[in-house]
Point group: C2
Chain length 298, copies 2
């Protein structure tokens, strides 16, 4: 069915109710009183339904009118929002931002930043894709995302440093590696099962770093962490990603001989450089601020 009632008519309905009468509504709408009267009457005749009735000399909503009023509110609101979106698009704002987030990135950073961004620009869709290692590079090189957060990135791109992510090797407290009394050497590690995250890029790339004899691969870091908590092996994780399991004693940091931590510089890359829209630019700013807040808060 095609709507035959104009948005202006619905607006008139709202105005009459909110202003408390036809006359006041007319003023609010910068129309004459007869125009408002006409609009309502036309609506009523189109619907063959009485919306207002006269109680004394005031117009009050009928029972049906109340129901329609609520709907009309939502309808006009949505129309306004749509136009607002259009205004933003007209200013060059993007309709959608594609965000590629490497699995090492702490959720806290992304969620806080997106929450802030959503308040400023609720109309811009955000498309998240989780990537791993070379998957992030692919997102940059092939323009699959407008904004990429990752640890490694192809050279030649403008990258903004965000956070210094501390990595640590961890295992369940009952894991055999924790029973050894000395600091662990690479050889110790090699004798146990390592949990790694599968590269989301082309399959034959292996950015794999230590070569453990046994390794299990997971497609997401979260799955891998859950496995580690079950004691299924040891693994390297960014500390920010495993604060909860560490506190709950489900995981414990392994004492590695050459320093128990590795650092990775988490960077933000704008694959199209300065050609990105103002929305992407703004989101990038917010991400940077959020990252700073997080690193200062620790």
């Amino acid at each position: 069915m095609k709507p035959r009632i104009t948005l202006e008519q619905w607006q008139a309905l709202l105005a009459v109710v909110d202003a408390g009468g036809y006359a006041q509504a007319a003023e609010q709408l910068n129309k004459s009183q007869s125009a408002v009267s006409y609009a309502i009457q036309k609506m009523e005749s189109l619907l063959s339904l009485q919306i207002f009735e006269l109680a004394g000399r005031k117009a009050v909503l009928t029972h049906a009118g109340v129901a329609l009023y609520r709907r009309a509110q939502a309808l006009v609101e949505e129309a306004a929002q749509t136009e607002q979106l259009a205004q933003q698009l007209a200013k060059g704002m993007e309709a959608e931002i594609r965000l590629a987030i490497d699995t090492i990135v702490p959720d806290e950073l992304v969620l806080c930043a997106l929450a802030t961004f959503a308040e400023e620009a609720p109309l811009i869709r955000v498309q998240l894709m989780e990537t791993v290692l070379s998957g992030s590079e692919k997102a940059i090189l092939e323009r699959e995302a407008d904004l990429v957060l990752a640890g490694v990135y192809p050279s030649g791109y403008l990258a903004t440093p965000l956070l210094q992510l501390e990595f640590a090797a961890v295992a369940h407290p009952d894991h055999p590696l924790h029973q050894l009394s000395h600091a662990l050497s690479p050889a110790d590690l090699r004798r146990h099962r390592q949990l790694v995250v599968r590269d989301s890029g082309p399959r034959d790339i292996d950015a794999g770093w230590l070569k453990a004899d046994q390794r299990w691969t997971f497609s997401t870091m979260d799955a891998s962490i859950r496995a580690a908590c079950q004691g299924l092996g040891y693994a390297w994780y960014p500390l920010l990603k495993i604060q909860q399991p560490l506190q709950q004693q489900q995981l414990q940091i392994l004492p590695i001989s050459q320093g128990s931590a590795r650092n990775v510089q988490l960077s933000m890359v704008l694959p199209r450089g300065e050609f990105c829209g103002p929305g992407t630019q703004r989101l990038a700013d917010i991400l940077q601020q959020t990252a700073q807040a997080i690193s200062e808060g620790e």
Copy 2:
């Protein structure tokens, strides 16, 4: 902000996209091609935003146009729905149905019936209120509900029998009453704590039936059932309400000497008789059918 784009203009946008061009859209809308062209142009100039661009001799959506198209779909859809609601209201359909449900009524009945009703009339709001004993009567007498499901009701009202609800006295299997080897007399019951549901009507009414020396009262039957499952006392419940605890051995039927079950006729009352709207009438029909299905399914 007040919307300045007409619904018709949004519809034009949809039509052009869906039909695949201005000319075809014109046909679909029963307008001339120039009218469609005019509508789109006006919209574009109001928003100072290009929505279509010419690829060869075809009009295709710009990037921004795609985003607006999605919104426009939702918007027009909502407008159509609102008018549909108005149509129903015009036919005398109510905007809202108030339903008073006694706490003895099995959820199954209400939920199934409402599910069916919601499919037919998704635009009618349903307001549920849970009542107890004289609370149900009050809902009828004072027109607080359009439809009442209860076991007892004031005389003089049109009541439709729905279900025969079987009541049984139950207690946790470990309850002392289950340890007695003989059939239970009223005197046996009186020596133990009874769990009852508080009357939701005026406080001084006591439709209380057996007089147990000790009794705990609950404001909802669900709370009472949970208490009984904990072994806090015995109580009378409709069997349909406690099938789950019975199966899980949390409750067990007490062997009462004069028959272990009582029956209550669950009835449906239309407080305003035939003056109710078609929606209420329809819901009543559905409830009746659902009740029949339930009683046959057992």
